[in-house]
């Protein structure tokens, strides 16, 4: 057990160090998320009465598109430099590799979200910076990363992988999209008797993480 923890953090640390060296993925994801927020503020009419309804949706679409970009880049980088093959040669359990990749991607996406959230709050002038938004964002991001990591591994060994990834991921993460957007909306505009959206995201996270952790070994099998 302690060995597995050590391996887990070693892989996460390796990915983070690689990323800190170039910061390419972070930069492109962050700029993309901000650009998406900007485009949304042009695309939708952001008057006082409807920005509370439109804002959370815009935020999450920006987050999800930025995550797709990050997940796609991650895999492309793995393919070009080939650390995944070497990682698979190590005597590490496949489940540990999968979980490490999920944690790494949650950190990647989380950093971008931490930058984009205050900008969003300022641009759209919505009072969403509370403790709860951190929890919603974290749970939503875990859901996206849990599905995204296994599907980017699926898409990795094909041609047209960047374009296959959203195709694979979007129909599956609909519960996360619905849950996080509604939960964020409830922060801006609390509705009495709202269904427990956070519970739904937690259920989704648990199911996707456990099923994918089992299935990941079949994806990377040679």
């Amino acid at each position: 057990m302690r060995l597995a923890w050590g391996q887990l953090w070693a892989i996460v640390g390796k990915d983070l160090r690689l990323e800190l060296r170039t910061r390419q993925v972070w930069m492109s994801m962050g700029v993309f998320a901000l650009l998406a927020l900007l485009i949304f503020s042009f695309a939708f009419d952001l008057r006082v009465e409807n920005k509370a309804a439109v804002g959370p949706g815009a935020l999450w679409v920006a987050f999800i598109f930025a995550s797709m970009l990050g997940l796609g880049r991650n895999i492309a980088a793995e393919q070009e430099r080939g650390p995944m093959d070497r990682l698979l040669l190590c005597p590490v359990d496949r489940t540990v590799i999968y979980l490490a990749k999920v944690i790494g991607n949650v950190i990647f996406i989380g950093v971008v979200e931490a930058v984009a959230l205050p900008v969003f709050a300022a641009l759209y002038d919505l009072p969403i910076i509370t403790g709860l938004i951190v929890l919603i964002t974290l749970l939503g991001t875990i859901g996206i990363a849990a599905v995204g990591v296994i599907f980017s591994a699926l898409a990795a060994n094909t041609r047209a992988r960047e374009f296959l990834l959203p195709l694979l991921v979007f129909p599956i993460i609909i519960p996360v999209v619905l849950g996080s957007v509604r939960a964020t909306e409830a922060l801006v505009n609390p509705i009495h008797g709202d269904p427990p959206w956070l519970g739904l995201i937690i259920a989704f996270d648990i199911i996707c993480l456990s099923v994918s952790a089992i299935l990941f070994q079949f994806v990377v099998e040679e």
């Binding site: 094909t158 296959l164 979007f170 299935l215």
Partner: protein, 266 residues
């Protein structure tokens, strides 16, 4: 193109080689069954096709003539006898894709992969018809082709999952890797659908389930129940018949690709 066809050759040969000795070394009921299938298979299939055709004709009669006209919904309610069985079978096919995917990952027998693929293809067609017939009914009864009701939305998502499954399979080609990938996608999608249903139910509960009365509920007059059961039986036979055909097509395509890859190597 060459790299694509050459890659599956080794994998397919390895897989069939793995499957073959097990069959040959085990005499008894298994080979007896295979022999019987070979001898009587075509007749059984023709019989299945004939029964299906009769069943479909009976269904048309029962749905259009035998069943009484609904007082509230009018004649358009008769679409229900096509819509409901197809919806049930579409969901059954989805379950069978996931079950066959699990079996493929365990046994690595190509036949499970063909079975999963055949189910996905028929499931996609059935789901398309469910959406079309549902829209026709909705336009007449609700006044709109589409409403974002929980059941409709779940079915639409299911249709997208089927379509994506088939699209990515065509990208992955007939390789062992592609079959494994598709199995992983099929299993994960299966686990997500219940959460999806729950989510869209919370999101939109515009139309309670009483709008579409399920078969067997006491409000339905007996003639309607009989018509529904008849069409359910006929559509199940149609499903089995189509499944058999598509499965055979999958097997033939796999064989062709293997032979082509062999020719290219020589």
């Amino acid at each position: 193109m060459q790299t694509v066809t050459r890659a599956p050759s080794g994998a397919l040969e390895r897989d069939t080689a793995r499957a073959r000795p097990a069959e040959q070394t085990r005499p008894g009921w298994r080979t007896g069954l295979a022999g019987a299938m070979k001898r009587y298979g075509p007749y059984a299939e023709a019989a299945l096709g004939a029964v299906t055709a009769i069943g479909m004709l009976l269904t048309i009669w029962a749905a259009l003539v035998y069943a009484p006209t609904d007082l509230i919904e009018g004649p358009v309610q008769r679409i229900f006898y096509i819509h409901v069985p197809m919806a049930w079978l579409a969901y059954l096919a989805f379950f069978l894709v996931a079950a066959a995917s699990v079996m493929y990952l365990i046994t690595r027998d190509d036949r499970w992969d063909w079975f999963a693929r055949a189910n996905a293809e028929i499931g996609a067609v059935f789901t398309t018809f469910v959406l079309i017939t549902g829209s026709l009914w909705g336009k007449s009864f609700w006044g709109a082709w589409w409403v974002w009701d929980a059941r409709l939305t779940t079915t639409l998502i299911l249709w997208f999952i089927y379509v994506v499954y088939l699209v990515v399979r065509s990208f992955w080609g007939r390789t062992a890797q592609g079959a494994r990938n598709a199995a992983v996608y099929g299993i994960l999608a299966f686990f997500v659908v219940p959460i999806n249903y729950e989510a869209v139910t919370w999101w939109r509960t515009l139309h309670p389930s009483e709008v579409l009365p399920l078969g067997g509920t006491p409000q339905l007059p007996p003639a309607m129940v009989i018509a529904l059961l008849l069409s359910l039986g006929a559509f199940t036979l149609l499903f089995a018949f189509l499944l058999l055909q598509v499965y055979r097509l999958e097997r033939a395509q796999a064989t062709v690709e293997r032979l082509r890859a062999q020719l290219e190597e020589e």
